[in-house]
Each structure stands twice: as C-alpha cells, then as structure tokens.
Amino acid sequence: MLLTVSILAVLGVVASALSSRLGRFVFLLPAAASIAAAVWFGMQGPAVAAGEILQERIEWMPALDIAIDLRLGALQWLLAMVVLGVGGLIFVYCAWYFESHTLASRTVGLLTGFAASMLLLVLSDDLIVLMVGWELTTIFSYLLVGLNHRSASNRRAAQTALIVTTIGGLTMLTGIMLLKAETGTFSLAATLAEPPQTTAAAWAAALMVVGALSKSAIVPFQYWLPGAMAAPTPVSAFLHAAAMVKAGIFLIAALSPAFVELPWWRWGLVSLGIVTMLLGAVRAMRQLDIKVLLAHGTVSQLGLLVTVLGIGTHASMQAGLTLLAAHAVFKAALFMVVGVVDKSTGTRDLRELGGLARRMPVAAGAAILSAASMAGIPPALGFLGKEAALDAALRDAEGGMLAIGWLAFLGIAVGAALTVAYSLRFVVGTFFGALVTEPKRRSRILVIAPVLLALIGLVGGFSGELISQLLEPQVEAVPAGEDAPQLALWHGFTPALVSSMIAWLLGALVHRSFGGRRRAPHGQDPLERGYHAGMRALDRLAVEVTGRTQTGSLPMHLTTILLVVVAFPGIALLLSGALTSDVRLYDSAGQVATAVIVSIAAIIATTTRGRLKAFMLLSVVGYGVALLFLLHGGPDLALVQALTETVFLVILVLVLRRLPKYFTDRPLRAARYIRAALGIAVGTFAALASLAALQSRTAEPISDGFYRWAYEFGHGANIVNVTLVDIRAWDTLGEVAVVLAAATGVASLIFVRRPTAGALRRSPSATGRRTWLRGAFTSEQLASPVLEMMTRLLFPVMMTVSIYLLAVGHNAPGGGFAGGLVAGIALAVRYLAGGGQELLEAVPFDAGKLLGGGMAVVVLSVIWPVLIGGRIGESYAIEATLPLLGDQKLVTTLFFDIGVWLIVIGAMLDFVRSLGAGIDLHSEQNVAPRPQWRSDRSLPGEGVRR
C-alpha cells in the first residue's frame, strides 16, 4: 500500500518533467501503476472480505503520536479500488484527450499527485495523515480547476472551491484535535474500538462531519462543485465525480460506527442529504451545458449517498457503499463520454447537440448504459444500490425509527424520479432527436475507457452476492439495525421495487413536461451569493480594522508603546506596594545643583523650536550627567561621558549645516498636552520603578566581587577598565561591533551613488599659498591661519594624549575607548581647520581599514588563548624587566584595548569624512538639501534626480 502511494507520488513529481520526452504517452505511466496496483488490491479482496485488516506503519512524529499508519479494511478497499481502477482508466483516457502539450504536461503531474493523495486519504488510519491526504486533494483540485486560468470565471471558481473545502477541512481538523484531546489518539481504529461518549467528542464528530459535507458538496456547501467544472473533463471525471467528492462520504461511512447513535446524526444527515439530492436534481433539469448538468447530478447523487448512509443501519451501509461504487463507475463514464462529445462536436450545449447516436454509436451505448445505472434501471449496478437503499429506509421505518425511515424513503423515491428525469434529459438531448451539429472528428481510442466502465456497471448489477460479501466487515461494524439482506437484482415484488417503478414513471413524465426546455439557467445560487457576500464582508472588515490599527504614523506607534508601558508595568507598580518612603535624596549639594541644571535644560529642550538651541541644551544635559558621575566617584565614566558628549556635539554641528533652522511644530500642536502627560507618566514610572528596585534589593550585587578580583585576577587597578576589557570584554566586543555598524551606516547614508557624485580623492595642490597644514583650504576666503597654526600644534599633543590614555588605561582613568575618542576629536579639528583635503592628508587611507583592522585585532585577541589551552577571552599578565623602564607588567588585554582604540578612531574618521567632507562634496555638486532661512523646511538639492 505504501509502495503504491509512494510510486504514484514520485510519478507525480517526475511525470511533468518526463512529458517533454514521452509526449502524450506519459499518462500511461500512472495508468499502468494504477491498474497494476488495482489488480494487487483486487487480490486482497477475499482476505479483506473475511475481515482481515492489512496494516503498514511508519513512524513520523512520535512526539505527537502521529504515524503513517495504513489500514486496509473493507471500506478502505472499496475506495482504493475506485481510486485506482477508475483512476487508471481515466489516465488512459487522458493520454488521448489532451492536445495542448503544456496543458498535458501540467495535468499529468497534478493528476498523479492527486491520485497519490487520494489513496493516502482513504488508506490512512491516522487522522492527521488522513488530513494530509484530504487537504492535498483540495490543493490539487484547486490547481486542476485553474488549469485554464486565462478566464476570470475559472479562476474564481477554483478559488471558491478551494476556500469552501478548506473551511470544511479546517473545521474537520479542529474536530480531529478535539477528538484527540478526548481519546488521546489520532488512530481511527482505536477511536472506533472505544468510541468516546463525552459532549466534547460529540462536538468533535459534528465538526468532522462539517468537513465531510463541504468536501462532498452537500448543502450548504454544494455550490462549489458545479463551478469546479471549469477543469478539463477527465479531471472532472476523476476528482469531481469518482474520487475526491467521495472523501466526505467515506469519512461519514468510517465514522458512523462510532457516532451513529448521536441524537443529531441521523436527522442531520438524512435531511441535509435529501435537500441536496432534490436541489441538485432540480438544478440538473435546468442546465444546458451537459457537463454542468452532470455536475448538478453529482451533487444530487452525493446527497443521496449521505441520505442513505445517514440512516445508519447495516442495510443502509451496504446500500450506501454499493451506490458509492456505482456512482463512481457510471459518473466517470458519463463525464468521459461528455469529453468525447465535446471533442468531436466542439460543444457541450444541449441547444447545439442532438441525434449523435447514429454518428457515435459506441459512445452513445456507453452513455445509455451508464445513464441507466444512474437512473436506477435494472440490471445496472445503480439499480441494485437504489433498491437496497429504498429497502433499507423501509426497514428502518419498520424497525422503530419511523419518522427518519419514512422521510428517507420518500426522499430517495422522489430523488430517484428526478434522477430518471435528468438522465433522460442528458441522453435524449445529446444522442436522440435531430442531428444539430455534425461531429467533426472520430476518436475511437477515447471511448475505450467509458465503454469499459459502462460494462463494469452492467456486470456489477449481476454480482450482488459478491458485493455483499466484500462489504460485510464494514456493514457489520455499524452498531444498529438487523442484518443486511443480500444484494440481488430480484427480491420479489417488494415495496422498494414498486416505488422504483413509480419513480421511473414519474421521471419519464417529468422529462416529458420539462425535459425539452432549452432556456438558459439564470440567477445565482443564494448560498453562493451568501459566500461571495461573506468574502466581501471579510475584505471590508480587513480594511476597516487595518485602517484603524495601522495608522502609519510614527508618533502613534510610539504613543501606543508608551501607553502600554504605563498601562501594564505602570499600573502593576502602583498596585504592588513595593515603594517605601525611605529615600535618601542626595549626598552632596553639588549633586542637587547639577540635577537642577540638568532638569531645567531638559525641560527647555522639549519646548524649544530652534535646532541648534535644542542640541546645546542636550549637551548641557550630557555634560551635567558626566558631572554627576564624577561627583559620585566615577572619573572614568565621567571622562568617557564628557568625550562622547563632545564628539556628539561636533557631529551634530556638522550635520546641522544642512538641516533647517527650526523643528516643525505643525503636527505637535494639537495633542501637545496629551503627549506631555504621557511623557511625564512614563518618566515617573521609570523613576519610581528604579527607586522601588533599589529599595527592595535583597542580595549583594555581583560587582562587589570586582574590587578584589579585578586586581588579583585581572591584574589591573582601574576596575572600570578591567570590567570593560576583561570581565565584561564580551559586552565590549559587542559594543565595538555596534560602533562599526554605525560607521558603515553613516557612510552608506551620505555616500549614496548619485549621478553626479564623485569621490574624495587627493587633488593636486595648485596654489602657492604657504599654509600651516599641507592639505589646507586653498581658497583664502575659507582659510583661517590662526586655526591652522593651532591645529598644527594641537594635533601631535592630542595624539600623544590618546596613546597615553590607551596605555595607562588598565591602572588609571583612560582606556582604548577614551583614547580613541581623543584621537577622533583631533582628526575632527584637522578637518575643521583644513577641510576634506587636510583630513585626507592626515589619514591617507579609508576608514574601513581602521575599522576592519581594529575588529580583527579585537576578535583575535579574544580567540588566541585557545591556542595555549585557555578559555576564549582569558587574559594573562606578562612580567618582564626591561632596560630603562624597569619592572613592567603587560596584561594581554592591552591588545583588546588597542583593537577598540582603532575601531573608535576609524569610526570617528568615518563620521567626519561622511558628515563633514561628504556633505561638503554634496554642496559643491548641489545635491545636498538647502535649508531655508528662518523656516522648518529645506529644499532638495538641485542636482538630485528624485
């Protein structure tokens, strides 16, 4: 069994590729595989009939108790025979049906894949794997219906079919999961062995039945099936007549042994079945397209199957399964005949058809035999089934379930009459009467498959005993009703036969009165209208909801986040009672004064409109914080903070040249007070939460250990530096990576490839002006000799300081970061004094080399201890007595610090080049934005295309 599924699956994948070589004969591959497998399955028949179960199992997801567990019982056997037998013939038919090569090559893969998934569906005992097959058939159906996707109505039909059956499929999945929660297993056999009796299980069964109904096109889902006729005819024959639509019927049959006694089961299924049966039959009477006529007929027949199985007795199970087989055989044959007719005459419209029996006698014969089976006329298999169904309904009525039995009986009888009517409409309309369209081509090979199927239907009528035997294990599984009678053509003159005969008569009468109508059907199915209205409502809902929640405004994003902060952690803090009033407000007066200044500067900064002013105020805040660090005893932090602040200011000023003078205040005005309130609330939360945290400290902080270990283990007297380059060197590593990323980012924003943008390169110094700096401005207007001279003097000093800070960092305030910043400021000064050329003079290579080299140094200095058997990031002290310098201790973290130093210098160089020299270049080329005087706007540069 697994082998068959796998072979078909593999064929499905490779067949499309092979089709370019094999042409139409590629269809014969799956055909051969299917038929061979059908023979094998056929040979298992006797064993299955004897009640044996063939099992094959492969574990798939043991953690979830999901396994590919195939079980061949009587029901599965029947369906497998339908899929493989009918399917095999359809593949043969396909080989001569398709003319377009692309269409054929797509169809063969999809159709074979479908066969594999359908087989998986019917054989799987694991409900999840069954679900896999189930949904895959849906997808293949979608793709096959949309094969001819040029037409909008085909696309719509494909989508409708997909969505409707997926809604059902997901409902069913929910049911399966609920059932699993009750039974603890996904195994169908285990569930049937011990049916759960809880309410949840009943719900689960109901959800699964909904899935079954959607797949088998039962009201209220029936409208997708006629639409699916957009698929090529062999596809319709296979999916939408013989196999896929039977999946729901199969599931109902499989579940009924466990759930037939649920109070709603019989009523629900029988009534929905009857409604579907009658609706489909009535609609079939109105169609002009014979393929669509058959599709409505299929809907009707599926309704019949659900009705019969819904009765839920031994007899009804036997009748239902017989009808299932009969329907698969005759409907596939009829569709294939339609394909033949369509191909030879070029039309499927009843108004253009008629009298074909004389021109195409074989096809007509097959059609008549099959239609007889459909109409339940002896000795066809369909008759056998329908008799049994009527009989089962009657027995039910006699056996206590009076109302359901009679309802089913009447429904089936009326349905039978209508079926006779539309069968006549199809056969008479197509094959008899006056010849309207002359068939153009003859296709002898194409009729083989339908003829074979029609013959099977005929032979089946005489094999009632055999069928009864084969179905027995499944029939016996139903826990209700007396033993089913053996199927036979002649039971004597029973009420069932009488009603059948009345149905023939009535059907003929109906056909006489209405069968000749040739008016085009009009109006849309109300249920289908409902579906489309639902989809439109969904779209409206989506747009409405998204319009409300997705404003696209940054201030709204921020407001939402801050509101959440206030609403959740904020409220939690208020309710917690973690705050006590025990607060030490300050240590020294200096702290108070600084705090006041910082706060005032911050508050003014929020209300100021001028950019420069705001930046200056921010700097006040920054330097104030540095002062607070110093007052609190952290000279290193203060140093770094002050240097960072300086760099920040320099960079801001560089940027500010090209920004408008004022911030815009337009969008802010309206909600200003709300924003202010939110800001204050978040600020208060931050302060109070920090306070509460410090008040409830229970354990000694980890940093207490730093005092001792920094010197003993890290060999450094400066705890901050030891922390940065050793204890938490890994964090520093990350932070320098951040600096590196920021540097690349700034460069990428400024140095965008623009049509006019050139590059920074050294221009030959043309003038004879004597300057203090080699690369200084050549124009007298820009040059400032005093600044140049100062720079000439200052630069070496600053560089020395930088290296000094780097070297002493481990024991005194300083370190690679501070040192790098000093060097960076020195470079900025050279830029300010002499412009881009001067900077190039100072560092004649690109910043990337410094950044990259620094990064490499940092990483290697972390990795190298591995070579001597240490841990990554470990540090060592090397003590040596050097001439002149005396005893010196070199801690290996110095290399790490050098890397940091290089990266910081590289980043500074990059910032100054990009924001300084890069913007200079843009101004020269007129691509930089030009700020407007006394305004909050700037104009784009004239050289910019966009």
């Binding site: 989508q159 902060v565 803090l573």
Partner: protein
C-alpha cells in the same frame, strides 16, 4: 569532550569576517567569498553545537574564565543552539542574493563598504542574542543586530527607505531605552544580570515588583517580536528594504524577540506564566495581523502582516506554559524562520522577473513554472496546508492548547484555525493575481527566469527545498523541540551554568 570554546564561534567568526571584508573594501568578489564561507562555516559549527548540546546537555562558556561568576557566560542549550543553527542556515543562503547594486550602493568615495560587513555584524548579533547567558549581554546582542539592521534597512537611502527606516530606528531606540531601564531595575533589585542567578533572586523579591519587571521585559521583547498592540511599526518599516534584507529581518529578527520571551518566561519567571494575558495577546496578534494582510495590495507588505500574525502562534504555545506548548512553539519558530525567509526571497525573484511587487502590476507569472513552484510551495506551507511544516506546527500547537482544557485556550485554537484559513486566502490571492491572471494590455515584457543570476535560482530552490525537508524530518525535529522544552522547563540551564563555573 570539552566544546566550551566552540560556543562563541557563531559570534566571533562573522565579526572577524566583518573586519576582513572592511579591509577588502575594493574587492567585492573577495568580500562575497569571505562572507559566504564564513556563514557556511558558522552553520557547520552551529550543527556541531546543536548535536553536542543534545548529547551532553547545555554547553557553557564562562568567557575569560573569571571566578565567582563575575564574567559573562554564554550558553548553547538545545534551544539556543537550534536557533543558531537555523539562523545560520538562513543567513548563509540569503547572503547570496543581494545584487551588485545593493552591495555597492555606496559610491567609490565612501570611506567604508557597507553591505557585507554590516550583514556579518547582523548575524553575529543574532547569534549573540541567542547565546547570551545574561540579561545585559542579551541587550548587547540586541544592539548589535539593531544597529546593523538600521544600516541595512536604509540601504541605498531612497526616500521611502529613509522614511521607513526612521520609523524603525525610532521605535527600536525606544525599545532599547526601555530594555536598559528594565535591566537597571533588575540589577538594582537583585544585584545580578545572570540568567542562572536571577531566578532565585527574583523569586525573593516582592511579587508586585516581580510583576513590574516581567511586564516591562514583556513590553520590550514584545516590541521586537511585534505582538499586539506593539506590532504596528513592523509593516511600516520592513517592506521597503531590498528583498534579501527584508527576508532576513522577517525570518530572524522578530524570532529573536520571541526567543527572548521564551527565555524570560521559562527561566526568569517560571511561576508566573501570565497564561490568560498572553493568550489574549496571541489571539489578537493572529487576527489583527492576518486581517491586515488581507487588506494589502503589495506582496512584501502583505507578507509583513502575515509575519505579525504568525508570531501569534508562537506566543500561543509560550502562553500555555506547558512542555507541549513550548515544544510546539519551538517547532513553529524553526518552521516560520525558514518559510518566511523563503517567501521573501522568492518575492525578490518575482520582483526581478515581473518588474514589481505590487499586485496591480503583476500578472501571468504562471508561464514561469519554476518560479510558480518556488512561490506556491512555501506559500501553501505558510497557509497551513499539509503535509508542510506549517500544518504540523499548528497541529502541535492545537494539541498543546486543547490539552489544557481551558475556554480561552479553546478560543485560541479557533482563532488559530481562522488565521490559518485567512492566511491561505491571502497567499492564494497573490497566486491568483500575480501568477494566474494575465497582465493587462501593456504586457510587453517577456517573463523568463533568464533575467536572474543562476545562483539565485539555485539558492532559492535550496531554501524552498529545506522548507519541504522540514516535513520529512518532522519526527526528529519535534523530538528535539520537545526535549528542548523539557530542558528549559526542568532547570537544566541553571545547573549547567553553575557546574561550568571555573
């Protein structure tokens, strides 16, 4: 075998390579080779870590071998090593895609080359976030990946990208600030930031304060992960970046947030699952996200909304707080990283072949069968069609949710099913419009894969192949995910970290 020194490799190698590619700024071909090899190597090391962590429990490195737990600890347990593995596979494949234009968007005069170094730093940041063993280092990992993502999202600096980038940067900076606040509160209250020490010390705090910390961290990670109501920034910022960048962002960055939520919920606050709150959030995330997707007419934006929506699934599993729920979430994360990345990559191909990503301007792509398959397979996977991993993940999540037998969990299952359906509708609409429907009258462009570099097609097929492979290896993978969940619930982490103390 002592593999501790391997733990930081997924961070160090890319950083080293970033340095080298910066030095090689003038040699784009070499840059490509360096970053490709590095990311491939990282994937190999990640696989070793993954197998080792599975065999011998969490692998721990105390960086610098500091005594007393002073230093930083990096931990590769089953969860983090799996995340590193998946993310390195994704980055190794995606690095192939940026076109020459993306890579050299900066002119010759630029002081540094941009794409490769930044991308490598990004991967280092992602790995660091997964491996971090303390809260502050997690923050550093976040910063690394955030800063490099700021650069990548504005690559080329077109007007839309800068606009979208500003949204992204400002929101991220706000979330980093909040994160820093949270860390200072945690350190203030407990005197430590180590994941191994925190559980004990946090538990000793006032329950009210614990809740404040938990909620604040949840907000921080929630912004990253884009969960309701903190999700609105994402669809405004991701879609404008180049497709390959968006692919990595969508695949990885939000998952880092989800990962952080898992760490926090299981390690720091094991006794406060906040199940009801998180379930409600998960439900709303799923539904609002997918409704957003249905309202879109541009593929990348549509996919960004599905991204938000499916974060809800992962949150659902976390919210349950059970081993089954966590295992399912972990499986779903793996699935979603790969599938979402694959889809964005394929959208990149669609953009090249069809000339646009706007549904109104696309059509007739079904005439390129390989592209059709490359789109349809991951799209159906995302839409929860079996036998693909998305379906299996949902089955695992539903299973876990129904096992708790609470009405809210049932509601979440229903919402999850509805989201699955709506996702399918969304991706199928793209299919109908871009692939099946013909382009209008002006269709003079020939659809052909020939406009694409061959390596793109190969790499995209490889990635899609991996998403399909997830179905085949679903058994071992779910086993692994559940073992990882048992690990993080059972306290293996803390024990391993303490045993490894030098």
């Amino acid at each position: 075998m002592d593999l501790s020194n391997l733990v930081p490799i997924p961070v160090l190698l890319p950083l080293l390579a970033a340095g080298i590619t910066l030095i090689l700024a003038r040699h784009p071909a070499w840059q490509k080779i360096v970053s490709g090899t590095t990311l491939g190597l990282v994937a190999v090391f990640a696989l070793i870590l993954c197998l080792a962590a599975d065999a011998q429990g969490p692998i721990v490195l105390w960086v610098g071998a500091w005594p007393d737990g002073l230093g930083i600890v990096l931990v590769a347990d089953r969860l983090s090593s799996l995340m590193v593995l998946v993310s390195s596979i994704v980055t190794a494949i995606v690095v192939i895609f940026p076109s020459r234009r993306d890579v050299s968007d900066s002119a010759d005069g630029a002081p540094v080359s941009v794409f490769h170094p930044t991308f490598l730093v990004l991967t280092a940041g992602v790995s660091n976030a997964f491996l971090a063993g303390d809260l502050f280092n997690l923050f550093v990992g976040f910063e690394i990946l955030l800063f490099s993502s700021y650069v990548l999202i504005m690559l080329g600096a077109t007007r839309e990208r800068v606009r979208a980038g500003s949204t992204y940067v400002v929101v991220s900076v706000l979330s980093s600030t909040l994160f820093l606040l949270a860390i200072s509160i945690v350190y203030g209250a407990t005197g430590t930031v180590s994941f191994a020490q925190l559980p004990e010390r946090l538990a000793a705090l006032d329950p009210g304060l614990q809740l404040v910390i938990q909620l604040l961290l949840l907000v921080v990670f929630g912004i990253k992960a884009a969960i309701f109501p903190l999700q609105s920034w994402l669809p405004d910022s991701y879609p404008t970046a180049p497709a390959s960048v968006t692919a990595v962002f969508a695949g990885l960055l939000t998952k880092v947030g989800v990962f952080a939520i898992i760490r926090m919920q299981t390690l720091l606050f094991p006794d406060s699952p906040l199940t009801d709150l998180l379930l409600v959030v998960a439900i709303l995330t799923m539904l609002l996200g997918i409704l957003g997707a249905l309202a879109q007419g541009e593929i990348k934006r549509l996919l960004s909304f599905t991204l938000v929506s499916h974060i809800g699934y992962m949150l659902l599993g976390i919210a349950l707080g059970t081993v089954a729920g966590l295992g399912a979430s972990i499986f779903y994360i793996v699935h979603h990283i790969l599938v979402q990345t694959a889809l964005f990559i394929v959208v990149g191909l669609i953009e090249r072949v069809g000339g646009s990503t706007s549904l109104a301007r696309l059509g007739g792509l079904a005439s390129v069968p390989l592209l059709a398959v490359l789109y349809l397979v991951p799209a159906l996977n995302l839409g929860g069609i079996p036998p693909f991993s998305g379906f299996l993940g949902k089955v695992a999540l539903m299973d876990a949710a129904l096992a708790t037998e609470t009405p809210l969990a049932l509601l979440a299952v229903i919402a999850g099913v509805a989201t699955s359906l709506l996702t399918l509708i969304a991706v199928i609409r793209v299919w109908q419009r871009a692939f099946w429907q013909d382009r209008g009258e002006d269709d003079d462009r020939v659809h052909s894969l020939r406009v694409l570099p061959r390596i793109w097609v190969v790499a995209a097929s490889g990635l899609v192949g991996i998403t399909v492979l997830l179905t085949v290896i679903a058994g071992p993978l779910t086993d692994f995910a559940y073992r990882a969940a048992v690990d993080i619930q059972g306290g293996a982490y803390t024990v391993a970290v303490e045993e490894a103390l030098p």
